[in-house]
């Protein structure tokens, strides 16, 4: 079935899709390989809502017809879903468990166990969560350790739900299962792959 797409208000994507998506991917790869490190995407796109810049760049870089996406973005949701359909051609799903990727505002984040954590034999099929935060600094601090972190690393993203880190701890206890999380704000990201463990402060 071909639905109609409201094209007015669909903002542009990458100016140079090949080079821009390669550059953004390398920064995402860097973020994933060094969890907790604050990475500037330098995406060069003008998203309709500035707080969605990094999330938009990630979508343009990673999503296509093979990746069902769950979107929960409050007032921007409908316009962003249209933007996604136009630029990425990805199916939009209302069912978190069916999503390969989820684009979610921190305020509207469902419990992490609502997403697919993968199959013991195919843990790579788990959902990747792209969470739009208020800011990536200035919130409650947590300490991280695991692959990609030399000793420990401290991060303090702001605006996440109160029991978010408890949920992450529970999610990590089931490794190799688990969701991979990319926190975004503006044009910056912090990655929390499922291999990253939350450790007590001090």
């Amino acid at each position: 079935m071909i639905g109609s797409l409201a094209l007015e208000g669909v903002s542009p994507g990458f100016a140079n899709p090949v080079a821009d998506s390669q550059r953004v991917f390398r920064r995402v790869l860097d973020a994933m390989s060094r969890p907790g490190r604050l990475i500037d995407l330098d995406s060069g796109i003008a998203a309709a809502s500035p707080h969605l810049t990094a999330a938009s760049a990630l979508a343009l870089t990673l999503l296509d017809f093979e990746t069902p996406v769950f979107v929960a973005l409050d007032a921007d949701g409908e316009a962003f879903a249209n933007w996604l359909r136009f630029h990425c051609g990805c199916p939009i799903t209302a069912e978190p468990k069916a999503a390969a990727y989820a684009l979610v505002l921190a305020d509207l984040l469902p419990a992490l166990d609502q997403f697919y954590a993968g199959d013991p034999k195919y843990p790579d099929r788990a959902t990747t969560l792209i969470v739009v935060c208020a800011a990536l600094e200035g919130g409650a601090a947590v300490r991280l350790e695991g692959p990609g972190i030399a000793e420990t690393r401290r991060i303090a993203p702001a605006g996440l739900p109160e029991d978010f880190w408890n949920q992450v701890r529970a999610d990590r206890s089931a490794f190799q299962l688990g969701v991979d999380i990319i926190l975004t704000a503006g044009d910056q990201i912090i990655a929390l792959p499922r291999s990253t463990r939350i450790v007590p402060e001090n």
Binding site: R26, I149, D180
Partner: protein
Amino acid sequence: MTTQTNRMQHGAYNHAYLDEQTKRMIRRAILKAVAIPGYQVPFGSREMPVPYGWGTGGIQVTASIIGQDDVYKCIDQGADDTTNAVSIRRFFARVADVATTERTAEATIIQTRHRIPEAPLKEGQIMVYQVPQPEPLRGLEPRETETRAMHAYEEYGLQYLSLYESVAAFGRIAGGAGYPVLVDERYLMSPSPIPKFDNPKLHQSEALHLFGAGREKRIYAVPPHTDVRSLDFEDYPFDVQSWDEVCALCGCPDSYKDEVILDDEGTRMFVCSDSSHCSDRRDAGHAGPMAGHELDQGSADAANLEDAE
């Protein structure tokens, strides 16, 4: 004439040869591989313009990550001047328009078959391995359904049994390359057929390591600062190869050596397997017992030949 031909062919391909949808698919697989260190992520391996066994997995990984700011190095058994390495380096110089180098320290992406360079790797460098057989358990269990379950439930007894049988038969853990490792104390992984000499370089490395198996359609990864432990027993600890001889050309005592037979009388020389490491040392004034040997000259000719093309 050559330049014109290159330009015409270059225009006929997308940047780095692969189409964008294929790159996205491979990029998603790479991110999952990094998130689950040592786990083999299935991916839709494509037909490449070289046969399976010539590095199609590594080429697809490189093509999906490489950009115009990268400096690309490609080695085969440690050497930059062997056929496979030269062809693949020229391929990316043409289709991705990147700078290439033979110096380990200058490279941002190092594609390799069977070696990790001697020079310590740095943050910002990515190693890309061409992997013939990604499954460390395949020689012990031919069924993919079984090995997948063994990884899922961390059931690695068969691997230890195999090492034990090796001790029982040979008095030591035999096998010099593709020596199995445990990544972050969870996934059993084949480091691809690098000599076990190179295994310790994977442990807590500063660089990101990406493994691509084209025929077997798997991608896996070791992120930087990740524990990589070579399997062993308390009474038969893991050890690496060592040589009594120093490198005949540069005098290096502690590098991985290739043995070269020189004539029918059995005269031989041992030279560094890592050609970049060896030439850097010679440039710095180090000399081995056979410094100035024609082998030295031979590699210079090969480099000139490449420049001429």
